[in-house]
Amino acid sequence: MSKNTITLIIDGTKVTVEEGTSILDAAKKVDIEIPTLCHHEDLCVAGNCRVCVVEEKGKNNLTASCAAPATEGMDILTSSPKVRRARKDIMALLVSEHNTQCTTCYRNTNCELQTLASDYNVDNDIYLSVLKNNTTIDKSSWSIEKDDSKCIRCQRCVRTCAEIQHVNALAVTHKGHEMKISTFMDFPMNEIVCTNCGQCIIHCPTAALTERRYYDDIWEAIDDPTKHVVVNTAPSVRVALGEMFDYEPGKIVTGKMVTALKKMGFDSVLDTDFSADLTIIEEANELLVRLKKAFVDKEEVALPMITSCSPGWVKFIEHMYPEHLGHLSTCKSPQQMFGSMVKTYYAEKKGIDPKDIVCVAGMPCAAKKYEANRPEMRDSGFQDIDAGLTTRELGHMIKQAGIKFQELPEENFDKIMGESSGAAVVFGATGGVMEAALRTAYAVITGRPVPFDNLNITPVRGMESIKEITIKFEDCVPEYSFLEGIEAKFGIAHGLTNARAIMDQIVEGKSPYVFIEIMACPGGCIGGGGQPIPTTDEIRKKRIEAIYAEDMGKPIRMSHENPEIKEIYESFLKVPLGEKSHHLLHTKYRKRKRY
């Protein structure tokens, strides 16, 4: 332990902690649970809900334990009569301004306010209702629903959007009884800088911020015999969906998930990992073309190239760095590649009219809902992806179908776009796209596998905010001899605050990288805005471990070795970056305003 330690007494027990530790965290050390609402371990301290108050002996006023550092000799009571009464009073106040409708609420049974209200049994309705009766739910966004009547004004969303995402789409406005969480000029959610990342949702303790739900539309399609309903699930869903069914975080439930989806009546259960492999082929080739243009043809090309699989990140750069869109890979995200392939290649192979296909994506993401609705995402002649569902929505649907998830047998994905490599699986974790791309790019450039144990490119893994790796290309195949001896630097960032740091380097012309992976959410997609709540660093790490375990369990670990990928190029796409690819798998971006 470092030398600056502090000893205090909490509920009669001596606790020694490092200087600067909050009373709340000190109490955790001796297994004393203090209730919290505005506190979130990902965020800076706010100290505004006041449910975490404790009594410090010798002081009349109570202390907010999340905001107060432990000091030497403090004598703290966390559950004295005074504390309990005050907390119950505060809970009653919160309920009195709340639109309590738990039975019809999306966060029912997964709501921090509800849990505390039930623990403290605020059932005697002592106060008058001060709920504002003029609030309307903002459903303008494809991704985010904002219902102020369920808001407890803890400002977790505001801090999330500012600290983790550096977007500042949400702010506190007005004061006193009018105080609320608002947007720029009170504009609707679809007209502001919001990236739709959904991080505010997974940091919101209540149902004030939720994803827009589409499952009723999906049920309708499933029930319609004229429709062929295809579902594809992203790599991060299979390592998190279990949490919706009381599994410990980090449980891999791929097989059960597939079984459940089949039971629910989807006509075909496919794997987004397939199109992740496809993305890698296109993206790695795009990078190589850019490098060749830069090194051999001495043409002006935008380098570093940056990944484009995270739609929240894409919208972020469109708003914040509209002059630098050339750096984005033109590749669509795996979800959108999947959609355009289903309604062309898959339809052709299956002999189904694409107009009768409904393509659903099960995603760890809120932004993918909006991405599916981008007007340019109709290259198949139809809306490529009809609806994006979050991991949470999938969980709900499985429950609605009366399926006992834990009891299910395990099945495999269906054929045609159901096969994937381990490289596609690691897409879910920060650094994963980079790892997958390097596995393929290195093989293409040198004809050999990447020089890492078991293909595990460990330097790109982990939760560090910005990671980098330098790779030296030696003994290149003739086509790529221009890269001989070159030491190329690759960068990885997750969370938009880190993305901004990377972009600022580019703006200043100081970026040392040739290729950068950026994911909008902390930890990558495993920590996406559509994942089960709570999502904490500990949980992120467990999901990441599961991702790498799934990768190791795959017989094929490199995208270009996926037999279904080989097949699609042979029979349909012909060559990477070819005419068909260009039309169906690549896209354009637009400049947006900064507010």
């Binding site: 301290v45 907010a64 505060i90 106040l93 106060y127 001060v130 006193g176």
Partner: protein, 385 residues
């Protein structure tokens, strides 16, 4: 008990003498200045009443190079206009007080956080500041003072909300600790003092710490400005030696029909007629600047309603007990008055105000109980019928 009203004229005495006072004071060591301030008993006049000597001493002891002084001229409390008068009539005293603080703490940058409504004072103040910068050269005081115009919210007078608003953020009070003396403006040690407090340092060093300390009572030393409003023929700002009874105060300033006195402004206590002889202004109650006098034509329900309206509007809204509590108290007394809730509900509301006191983040939410409890307890009938 016998007290008397001792009307004084120290604060508004001629401004020109303060360069001499400053000169003499700067001949003392910093430690001497601090201990004389402590000995004088001068406390903050902005509401919280913290001893100024200790505040300066603590800030002086901070190892950081950069420190700030902020003169709090936000004066948002209804019925208060004393700081405005000081800045209008004797701005030199305030600036010299800041100079002394700079001497003691080592701060080189000062701000006057001026209430937005006092914008018209800017030319006048700026002229004084320019002269001040010139004058200080001969004292070797290197303090640059700047005016910062406030945003208009009452809560921005709270020192940490004030600092947040100066930093360009929303004016919400911070968690304390850390206090501004440690972690203030831009994270640097910062002294925040009220206008009157700063001006009063000039009185302390004019009279000497002992003489100043002999003014007032054992709890509250010195003299102080009172902004008197309400049913008084003598509405306005008066400097009075601390320690008078409410009875004497009412004799001097009332209209002969005084039923209650609100001591210490909206955040203070309401003293009913039956207690006029028992209560000393400044003992056991706060010494915020405003004193409101109500005669028997006033409905105390309306008085309380106005106060609660004010709090429900002016709470910054961040913390639960204050944001929701203020609304509940307001709606609650309305419901009792309308007969929708039984009079017993008033007791529930008093309990609630106590919860607000012990759990709110800043002085605003913590002090609502003062006026609420004293008015409801003393004028319960008026709340119900």
């Amino acid at each position: 008990m016998t007290t008397h009203i001792n009307k004084l004229g120290y604060i508004f005495s001629k401004d020109c003498e303060c360069d001499d006072i400053l000169k003499n004071t700067l001949a003392k060591t910093k430690d001497e200045v601090v201990s004389e301030l402590i000995k004088s008993g001068l406390r903050g006049r902005g509401g919280a009443g913290f001893p100024i000597g200790l505040k300066w001493k603590f800030t002086a002891s901070q190892p950081e190079e950069v420190k700030y002084i902020i003169c709090n001229a936000d004066e948002g409390e209804p019925g208060t206009f004393k700081d405005r008068e000081i800045l209008t009539q004797v701005p030199k005293k305030v600036l010299r007080g800041m100079a002394l603080c700079a001497y003691v703490t080592g701060a080189k940058k000062g701000f006057i956080y001026l209430r937005g409504e006092y914008k018209y004072l800017v030319p006048h103040l700026q002229k004084n500041i320019d002269e001040f910068h010139e004058d200080m050269k001969k004292f070797n005081i290197d303090l640059n003072v700047e005016i910062f115009l406030g945003s208009g919210a009452y809560v921005c007078g709270e020192e940490t909300a004030l600092i947040e608003s100066m930093e360009g953020k929303r004016g919400e009070p911070r968690n304390k600790p850390p206090y501004p003396n440690q972690f203030g403006y831009l994270g640097k040690p910062t002294v925040v003092n009220n206008v009157e407090t700063l001006a009063s340092t000039m009185i302390v060093f004019r009279l000497g710490a002992d003489v100043y300390n002999n003014l007032g009572t054992k709890d509250q030393q010195g003299s102080k400005l009172f902004s008197i409003s309400g049913d008084s023929p003598k509405e306005g700002v008066h400097e009075i030696e601390l320690g008078m009874s409410v009875a004497d105060f009412v004799n001097e300033f009332g209209d002969g029909d005084t039923k209650a006195v609100q001591v210490g402004g909206v955040s203070g206590f309401c003293v009913p007629r039956k207690n006029f002889n028992k209560e000393i202004i400044g003992e056991g109650n706060t010494t915020g600047g405003s004193t409101m006098i109500f005669n028997s034509s006033r409905s105390m329900y309306n008085v309380l309603h106005n106060f609660l309206d004010f709090f429900a509007e002016e709470s910054c809204g961040q913390c639960t007990p204050c944001r929701v509590g203020c609304q509940q108290l307001l709606k609650g007394i309305e419901a009792v008055k309308a007969g929708e809730k039984s009079p017993k509900y008033l007791d529930q509301l008093i309990k609630l105000s106590k919860t607000m006191q012990i759990t709110s983040k800043c002085g605003l939410g913590q002090s609502v109980t003062n006026s609420f409890t004293s008015i409801v307890n003393n004028f319960r009938e008026e709340m119900i019928y």
